[in-house]
């Protein structure tokens, strides 16, 4: 096990707001493990405790076998951390930032260049540009290089793809797959549910609590209800109609269709007949495979 947390807890302020609520996680060596949840779920607090930047208020955790409170110095040598907010030196160039981080860890860029080569070559043409002047996608690549240059065993990536466009997001996940092949363990968080499918295992988190830990496939298989897509006609009107329908359990917009679950004993054909009666002549209902976002919505409802 590369990361283990036991009843990990963090409480903030006079109001005793529980940001992380008795979290138990274990991450295997070489795994890409995703923390999936909205802002304020406690993802960053978990990252900051595991990277020894924040002391927990309860429970314990180890990273690479070291205790996050007692052995914090040892942990800092063997991890790479990319915080949610861009935290490189804005006034240093790409090259200077990279050299700085290598030097701080008593190493050189050339010694571990093989680790960052594929990523660094994409930003190398701009190596004399100051970090503050880079685009979102380039900042993200530089931050990843700086987190890798001392050859860490575990990578902590806190929302590396937030606010980055779809193309850069895809490229970033390809890079993570390559790093995994080199044997790195990666803990990564994201608010984009469709990225969860790219992890080996994921923990869904909300309000400081873990709702579920599983592989993306098993999570979807455990959905436990029949999920339908509904199409045909004005989506917003269709949504409102289905929400007020007595046989509906839940109905949400999902891109170009609606996702619908029905109450026990309600038949699909009954719903189609009802929609046609209400003037939706082209209404069509089909069974579908749920996605991570469907699972998250369902878990939010049952918790």
């Amino acid at each position: 096990m590369m990361i283990v947390t036991e009843q990990l807890k963090k409480v903030y302020g006079k109001e005793k707001i529980v940001a992380v609520d008795n979290v138990n996680l274990s991450v295997d060596k070489g795994e890409i493990f995703g923390l999936i949840g909205p802002d304020g779920a406690g993802k960053s607090s978990i990252f900051r405790m595991l990277t020894t930047l924040l002391i927990p208020d309860g429970g314990s955790a180890t990273v690479n076998g070291f205790d996050i409170v007692k052995d914090y110095k040892k942990i800092r040598h063997c991890i790479g951390y990319m915080p949610g907010r861009f935290s490189l030196y804005q006034d240093l160039t790409i090259e200077e930032n990279l050299q700085f981080f290598a030097t701080v860890f008593n190493t050189t860029v050339s010694e571990n260049y093989h680790l960052i080569k594929d990523i660094y070559c994409q930003i190398e043409p701009f190596k004399d540009r100051r970090a503050g002047k880079l685009s979102g996608g380039m900042k993200q690549k530089l931050a990843l290089c700086c987190a890798l240059i001392h050859k860490p065993e575990v990578l902590f990536l806190d929302e590396p793809t937030t606010g980055v466009d779809v193309v850069s997001r895809k490229e970033f996940w390809d890079m993570l797959k390559n790093l995994k092949q080199m044997g790195l363990t990666i803990l990564v968080s994201t608010p984009y549910m469709n990225e969860a499918a790219l992890c080996d295992r994921i923990a869904l988190i909300q309000s400081g609590k873990i709702l579920s830990v599983n592989t993306p496939e098993k999570l979807v298989n455990n959905y436990g209800e029949t999920l339908y897509t509904v199409t045909g006609g004005n989506m917003y009107k269709l949504l409102n109609l289905l929400r007020s329908y007595e046989g509906t359990d839940s109905c949400f917009a999902f891109g170009n269709s609606l996702h619908l679950t029905l109450k026990y004993q309600t038949k699909k054909d009954t719903v189609v007949a009802y929609l046609q009666e209400e003037g939706f002549k082209d209404a069509a209902i089909q069974e579908t495979i749920p996605g991570i976002e469907d699972c998250f919505i369902k878990l939010l409802k049952t918790n």
């Binding site: 949840g37 909205p38 802002d39 304020g40 779920a41 880079l134 685009s135 979102g136 996608g137 380039m138 937030t162 606010g163 980055v164 466009d165 779809v166 193309v167 850069s168 895809k170 608010p191 984009y192 549910m193 469709n194 909300q206 989506m235 917003y236 949400f252 917009a253 999902f254 891109g255 170009n256 976002e293 998250f296 919505i297 939010l300």
Partner: protein
């Protein structure tokens, strides 16, 4: 259909760099218009020109009936704006934020009182009126921020990544508010990185390297590009991008 945003060859240059290159499009009253683009494609520049915050280099644009060169103050009075990054004052209460924004837009005391009442009821936030905004969950903040951006009954509301980081249920509740506003005739101009949300728009424009490389309904775009969803449409167009900010 009444046109509320009109642009013709709208261009912004910064030195030799053409951030927005000859943008021409129209948006109708009550339309939900998705304004997408790769990072650095020029979305922010275009939006700032339409909001009367940045003088164009050339071309024409008319927003809510006013010219972007000569009537920027009128534009500001007739549009609402909300972004994920900045919207409400954290150290003011819910009611104070509403009063502040309504006051800025010149509403009378009687109107402010009525609007506050109406808004708190609609959002079901009556018991939170005296709470500091910093104490609200993110999803509530965003719903409140959206409603506040509409407090002066603008013709158009500009939403810059309004749903970033919120949970999937809240994200959909937010879109319910968008649909509701559009149903009342408000034009919604929205940017997002969630491609499923692109599907909720009446029409979508996709900017690549400073130009609008596609503009149509999500259905037509998918058909034209033989794509299963908007994510694929976006990917096909944006991966050709040469510049990144």
């Amino acid at each position: 259909m009444e046109t509320v945003i009109y642009t013709k060859k709208l261009t912004k240059r910064f030195g030799n760099f053409i951030a927005a290159n000859e943008l021409s499009f129209e948006v109708s009253k009550g339309e939900i218009f998705g304004f997408l683009g790769a990072n650095g494609a020029g979305k922010t520049t275009a939006m700032r020109m339409l909001c009367g915050l940045l003088m164009p280099s050339s071309g024409e644009a008319n927003v809510a009936g006013f010219d972007v060169y000569t009537e920027t103050e009128k534009i500001k009075q007739n549009i609402g704006y909300m972004s994920q990054k900045f919207s409400l004052y954290e150290d003011l209460t819910v009611a104070e934020n509403i009063r502040f924004y309504a006051g800025i837009y010149g509403l009378s005391f009687a109107e402010i009182k009525m609007k506050t009442d109406e808004l708190l009821t609609k959002l079901d936030m009556r018991s939170e009126a005296k709470k500091l905004v910093s104490q609200l969950p993110l999803g509530w903040k965003q719903k409140l921020a959206f409603s506040v951006s509409l407090v002066h009954d603008p013709k158009i509301v500009f939403l810059d990544e309004p749903t970033g980081g919120v949970d999937p249920v809240t994200r959909r509740q937010f879109w319910d508010l968008i649909y509701y506003a559009a149903g009342k005739g408000v034009t919604v101009f929205v940017t997002t990185h969630y491609m499923d949300e692109a599907e909720y728009c009446d029409r979508v424009s996709i900017m690549v390297d400073g130009v609008i490389s596609a503009l149509d309904s999500p259905g037509n775009l998918k058909k034209q590009m033989n794509a299963p969803d908007m994510e694929d449409v976006f990917y096909q167009l944006a991966r050709k991008a040469k510049r990144s900010e």
